[in-house]
């Protein structure tokens, strides 16, 4: 992980400072809209970081990762529906539920490799998606409105206040970036990265890689559950669309766009992806017509994503 300072580091530092300053800049420019845009970007970045942990560093291409966004979100929505609004209950339930689901899915998926892994994660996520669609009590397709954001019960963290909501997400983002870094440079992370490049050899050394991969899968699920918790609170709304397979595809996209297996790639990718779609969609409603081919070109020509172009050496080696 040790490398010289590159433009990639400068961009990462700039982005973090930008995220910190957005509420002030937005009020100075009188464009309050950007606060919600960047809050959304940061939530997506947390989800993309969690995916990067297993996909970038562990080689597990999960095509159903948005399912944990949905589970985390529905934990908030359903508990709030039953008048349980305490964050001290909602947050552990959201993350615990994601841990259990990720454990079960991981046990099934990690028996397979390659194409099989991609398709099984997709299919299992679809299963939960259809479960949420068929839950008539909780709004089916239409989703659930959340009247009250999670209550932490102290005077300091009041999520109903827009600025507090924003900086709670910002703090969570910093925490996840830090955690990702600690995991990747630890012995655990080294096993994970080693098993990505040659699983058989790592096993031959005597390390049971299956357990490490499963643990990483669960950690990623829980982290994405946190993103779901934040998203539900931010939007005051949950619906099956949160775990539509297009969302999982977009998560992969952000991670690759930013640069897989780089620490700040997911954040960069989330910023680029969401700003680009925001801008393109104001130009034409048929923006997917441009965006689709753009994606293909990125895949074909810009290997290593934005971070790769900026000279980060951590990108896929």
């Amino acid at each position: 992980m040790r490398s010289q300072l590159t433009p990639a580091h400068a961009v990462s530092a700039l982005l973090i400072s930008l995220c910190a300053a957005v509420p002030y800049l937005a009020s100075a420019l009188d464009e309050p809209f950007y606060v919600i845009v960047f809050a959304r970007i940061m939530v997506w970045a947390i989800a993309a970081i969690s995916l990067n942990l297993i996909m970038g560093f562990g080689g597990m291409i999960s095509f159903g990762h948005a399912v944990y966004l949905g589970i985390g979100g529905y934990a908030v929505g359903i508990l709030a529906f039953h008048d349980i609004t305490s964050a001290w209950i909602q947050l552990p339930v959201a993350m615990g539920l994601c841990a259990v689901v990720a454990l079960v899915f991981g046990v099934i998926c990690l028996r397979t490799r390659g194409i099989y892994f991609i398709m099984i994660t997709l299919a299992l996520a679809q299963m939960v998606f259809f479960l949420s669609v068929s839950a008539e009590r909780y709004g089916s397709d239409d989703g659930l409105n959340i009247l009250w954001r999670s209550e932490f019960g102290s005077g300091i963290i009041d999520l109903e206040d827009g600025a507090v909501m924003y900086y709670t997400i910002f703090a969570a983002l910093l925490g996840c970036l830090l955690l990702q870094w600690r995991i990747v440079v630890s012995r655990f992370g080294m096993v994970l990265r080693a098993s990505q490049s040659n699983d058989t050899r790592v096993q031959a050394v005597g390390i049971p890689t299956y357990r490490y991969r499963l643990a990483a899968f669960v950690i990623a699920g829980v982290m994405c559950g946190l993103a779901g918790f934040l998203q539900a609170n931010l939007e005051r709304f949950v619906s099956p669309d949160m775990m539509n397979w297009h969302r999982s595809g977009e998560l992969i996209l952000m991670t690759v766009l930013g640069g897989t297996a780089t620490l700040f790639g997911p954040l960069v990718g989330a910023v680029v992806f969401l700003l680009l779609s925001e801008i393109l969609s104001t130009i034409t409603i048929h923006w997917h017509l441009v965006f689709g081919p753009f994606l293909i070109l990125v895949v074909l020509f810009a290997r290593g994503g934005v971070m790769g172009l900026l000279g980060s050496r951590a990108a896929r080696d």
């Binding site: 028996r111 397979t112 194409i115 099989y116 997709l122 595809g249 992969i252 048929h286 017509l289």
Partner: protein, 311 residues
């Protein structure tokens, strides 16, 4: 539970299985031979419905529309393969997933631009309306019988093509060892284009065939695509025979689950609980089946013998 309904639903499941097979056959061939994850296969299903539907409305005959659709879909398939997918064969699965995801966005939007957001309705011709009596008091819509017959004929034709012809021999050789087949003088790029074209025709046929029942809509291929993924994972990637068995299994279990699971649950649960658990559980049924099969056979029911040789 009355047996007429049971047999009707069994036939409905069979018919869903046939549609799934038409999709899964192309997918599994492309996977097995080219080692390509093609998410855009669902888009070919949709394009088949729109192109075939337009041809049907232009000629005034569903039969003529279907016949004209075959060369059109073949051309579209070969075009997509040569322009967009050919460069992806040597890339990682991740790159393939992303690039074909981009293709889906493109095709969905292009369809919206050409045919508008409402979709396209194709009327069923008069002579295919009505029902047929299958004996023992069972009647069944004629068109659904036609779908089943067409599907069985296509499956048979595909089997003969792969197992009995020189082209099929080359396909099997390419599937088991691409490099060796190339070294022996098989023109691999042409073979790949042809296989992809056939896959596109099958997907397009599946799309057109259900259009008189459902009508053509943007994104219609995506749910079918994911079901087709389940099918080829259960059947074993690269195996057409596996795709056939798994498609029928998936179609029948899904349909039967949706119609009878709540009745079965009534035997164990209170009416209230059964009514809410039934739909939820039945929509999860095939995924549970898939997870169960994979747990015991990670390579699917019919793993191709060469699967271990592929890099």
């Amino acid at each position: 539970m009355d047996y007429v309904l049971l047999i009707e639903q069994l036939l409905n499941g069979f018919q869903l299985g046939i549609i799934l097979f038409l999709m899964a056959a192309g997918l599994t061939l492309v996977f097995g031979i080219m080692d390509l994850v093609n998410l855009a296969h669902g888009s070919l299903f949709m394009i088949g419905a729109f192109v075939g539907g337009t041809l049907t409305l232009a000629t005034g005959s569903l039969m003529l529309g279907a016949v004209l659709m075959v060369p059109a879909m073949f051309a579209i398939g070969v075009l997509v393969e040569t322009i967009a997918l050919r460069t992806l064969y040597r890339r990682s699965h991740l790159d393939q997933v992303l690039a074909t995801f981009g293709l889906i966005l493109f095709f969905n939007e292009a369809t919206r631009l050409i045919w508008g957001p409402e979709g396209l309705a194709v009327p069923l011709p008069d002579f295919l309306e009505g029902t047929v009596a299958l004996g023992a008091g069972i009647t069944y819509p004629l068109y659904r019988v036609v779908i089943i017959v067409i599907g069985i004929l296509v499956a048979l034709g595909l089997y003969l093509l792969v197992a009995r012809t020189r082209f099929g021999m080359l396909v099997r050789a390419g599937a088991s060892n691409r490099v060796m087949a190339g070294a022996l003088g098989v023109n691999i790029p042409v073979l790949f284009s042809l296989v992809f074209g056939i896959g596109a025709v099958l997907a397009g046929l599946a799309g057109l065939i259900i259009t008189p029942i459902t009508q053509a809509a943007i994104g219609m291929g995506e749910d079918v695509l994911i079901l087709a993924f389940v099918v080829i994972v259960i059947g074993g990637i690269g195996s057409v025979r596996g795709a056939f068995v798994a498609a029928l299994l998936t179609g029948i279990i899904d349909t039967m689950g949706r119609s009878f699971l709540d009745v079965i649950l009534l035997l164990f649960l209170s009416p209230n609980a059964a009514e809410s658990a039934g739909p939820a559980l039945s929509s999860m049924l095939i995924y549970i089946l898939m997870a169960g099969i994979l747990f015991f056979r990670p390579q699917g029911l019919f793993p191709p013998r060469s699967a271990t040789a592929a890099p």
